[in-house]
Structure formats: C-alpha cells, structure tokens
Symmetry: C2
Amino acid sequence: MKKTFTRREVLGLGIGAAILGGCSHAVPVSTPKVEAEPAPVWKFPWDYRTLDIKTTQERAYNAHFKSGCMYGVFEAIVGQVAEKLGKPYTDFPFQLSSYGGGGVAGWGTLCGACNGAAMAISMFFQDKTRNAIINEIFTWYETTALPIFIPGKPVKVAVDYKMPTSTANSTLCHLSINRWVNASKLEAFSPERGERCARLVSDTAGFAADLLNKNAEKAFIPTKEMSDKAKNCLSCHGQGKKAVDEPEVAGKMFCTACHPYTHR
Amino acid sequence: MKKTFTRREVLGLGIGAAILGGCSHAVPVSTPKVEAEPAPVWKFPWDYRTLDIKTTQERAYNAHFKSGCMYGVFEAIVGQVAEKLGKPYTDFPFQLSSYGGGGVAGWGTLCGACNGAAMAISMFFQDKTRNAIINEIFTWYETTALPIFIPGKPVKVAVDYKMPTSTANSTLCHLSINRWVNASKLEAFSPERGERCARLVSDTAGFAADLLNKNAEKAFIPTKEMSDKAKNCLSCHGQGKKAVDEPEVAGKMFCTACHPYTHR
C-alpha cells in the first residue's frame, strides 16, 4: 500500500529531518527570520591548563629550532594549553610569534624568550596578574645563571658537551648573548651559542609554566617587581623621586648593565 | 481538498527543509556518517588589505588610550584588515598585544610601538619580507624626530599645545622617553609625555601601514637594514668581522646610545 501524509505530518517531518541532520536552525515556518551573530571563535583571555614542566621544556627546546626563541617559549606554553582546550584554540596562528627571534628580526633588542613568555602570559591574564608574572620572569632572567636545561639529544653540540652558563644582567638579547660569549670564550654566531639559546628558551618556558601552574593553584606569590639593583637606582631615579638634574626613569631594567654606577 | 504526499515526496521535502533551514548537513538517509575535520579558523599569514594612512593614524591614537602603545599600533593595522576580511578574522584576540605597553609591562625594554608594528607585520609576512619591513620601521623610529601626528581632539593636552619632538636614537622605550624628556624639560610621567607616546604610536602605525601598502603594490624597496651608525660599528664588530679583543655583536641596535664611541 502506498502510504500518504497530510500537510501537517509533512511539516512535522521536515522539522524533524532538519533537527536530526544536526542543524542548529529550525525550518522557517512563517516566523520572521532572526539573523543570529556567529559565536565568537574563542573567549579571551583563554583558560589556563596546568602543564608538565619537563614536557614544556622539551617542547620549547624543539620549537626553538623550528622558528626561533620567541616562538619556542610561546608555542611550548600556549600550544600545549590549546591542545588541552581543543578546537578552535588549536587554530591559533602560533607562528605569529616568530617575529621576536634574535631580539626581534635579529635586532638584538628584547630577548625573544622574554618577549615570548610575556606574550604567552598575556593569552591567559591581563593587567595586574599578567604584569606580576612578567616581573617574576624578567627578574629571574636577569639574575640567574643560564642555561640550566640539558636535552636528551642536543641538536648543535655533542651529548657530553659541558655548556658554560652566564648571568645576563639584562633582558636584552645582544647583552644576554654577550655575557655568554664572555663566559664561554666562544663566538656569538657559533653552534654552541645557538645551543645555549635553545636551552635558555627551554628554561624560560619551564619557569613561566611553573609560575602559571602555581597561579592556577592560587599558590603564586609575587616576590619581585624588579631586580634589587634596579630598585636601588629607582629609589632616587624612579617616578616621583627625581634626583637632582636627572630625569625620572620609566622602566625596571637592570640599570647598571648600560649605566655605570657613578654616584657623586 | 486535503493534499497528500507520497513517501518519495516527503523524503525530498525533508532534505529541502534541512537545506532551507540554512544547514550544512544533509539529512542522513542510510548513508554512513563521515566526520569531517572542522575547517581551519583562518589561513596564516593573513592576506593584507590596503589601509588609509590617516584613518590608521587616528585609530592607533585612540587605541593607545584604550590599551597602550603596542596594542595601539597592532590593533590599528590588524584590526582594520580583519574588518576588511570579515569573520572569523575579526575574532582575533587583539587585546593579546597589550602586554607590550611601556616596553613590556612597564619594564622600559623594546618600545611597544616597535613591538606592536613587528607583531602586526608578522600577521601578514614571515621571514625575509617581514624582517625587511621591520628593519625599515626600526631604523625610521631610531632616526626620526617624533611625534609628527597632530590629533584633531588631543586627549591629554590643549588643542593648541605645541608638542616638542625628539629623535630616540634607540628602539628602547625608556631611552626614547628620556630623549623626549630632555627635549621638552617635562617629566617622564607627565600628561604631555603620555600624549607624546600616543602620537608616536600613531606615527608608527601610519609608517608601518604605508610600507605594507607599498609592498602590496610591489613598490616596497628596502633601503635600510639598520642605521648608518650601527652599520659603521658592525663593520668591525659584526658577524665574521671580529675586532681585536671584542666579541661579535648579534644585533642591529643604535650602538652609541649605550656604548660611547671610544676608538683607540
């Protein structure tokens, strides 16, 4: 027998078919069409997800050799969180951060590891929390003998290479490299220096991820706004504390890296 | 008369309803379900779209007062292109770039206008083209008396305020500010200095957009890799040109801003 359907039955089936087809729109049935705004691709700032430090360090080390220092830190942190959050977060153009390599396009300004860490923090926090975490990272970077990380399979040196360390006393790329060059007696453009920067990228990503993990556990306590040396200088040269004949300084950098201490 | 429909007609109507409902899925009709990978949110690098320079300058000026210098340059350029490209480009988290304010979280390192311009260029180009455009911007920034832009409605000063200008001789925030402080005899934390930075952000966004426009018209000819002063220093201290007892320098910054010229 040939089954037939009434107009009302057909209408019901049409709506059912539309819904079964996995659609979010109902069939328009003489109601005015409302154009819904497409949903945002993602919320911002992103939610953070706790990261394993060792995994982060290894990922940063490898990412450095793909697209440089800023990308290394940024991708190791934000790329991993994106994978934990899923689509569309994994579509973020991480490659964007590669511009900061060698202190931005080889200019030797801000170290790409610092720039990449700051950009990564900014994906999860804005304003006070972001700045407090950046302060910790930059101060640690200025005052710590780096690199510390030892990869299982070094890319540029032999597995038993004893990596010299140096304390940058600066967040600037060319100064940081120069300290290491002085400590190692090797060239700025040597394979060993390339290896050093990859390991420093790894250290910075690990340190930043550790602070983000602590913050997620409400266990992050800011201890530094800047180095003790900069604090000492800015106690006279900072905002509202104008030294005689000297302008206020708008910054937190390690002053004596460039300005010899010449107090009268 | 009561109209009736056959089974075949109903099936056709069901599919039609699903399609009319604005759905991308056909009604499943005994065919195996294929889970398609969601399309990427956007391609990267983004396509560039020619920008009006005056509009870009004004947008950067206003954006600066919303979220700082790096955001000002980045949002003025990339935000406008996003609007020309439409969804999902407009969903990009532009606020991300606000971390670079005041030389990154107030540290006085790389000027946020420079950092924001470099990040903006990186949205459209990678590697050589990106670096060539960044070189032009950074060299222009170091060697040009800024600010030039005069807003119709100044935010921090009177409409007839005569803005002092200064040449930064550096891409670093606290040096750039200090040059202007010396030129103006005003405070680093004064409203006038805030106004100066907003106008400098405007200039940098306009200059970068002009280079991007020229590049889109195949009329961008790189003229600078670095300043003539840095080139002079690096002719002995650069890669492969090691001066006696001096390491190679990995950078393109204006050397004599920090290193007095003390040749023997």
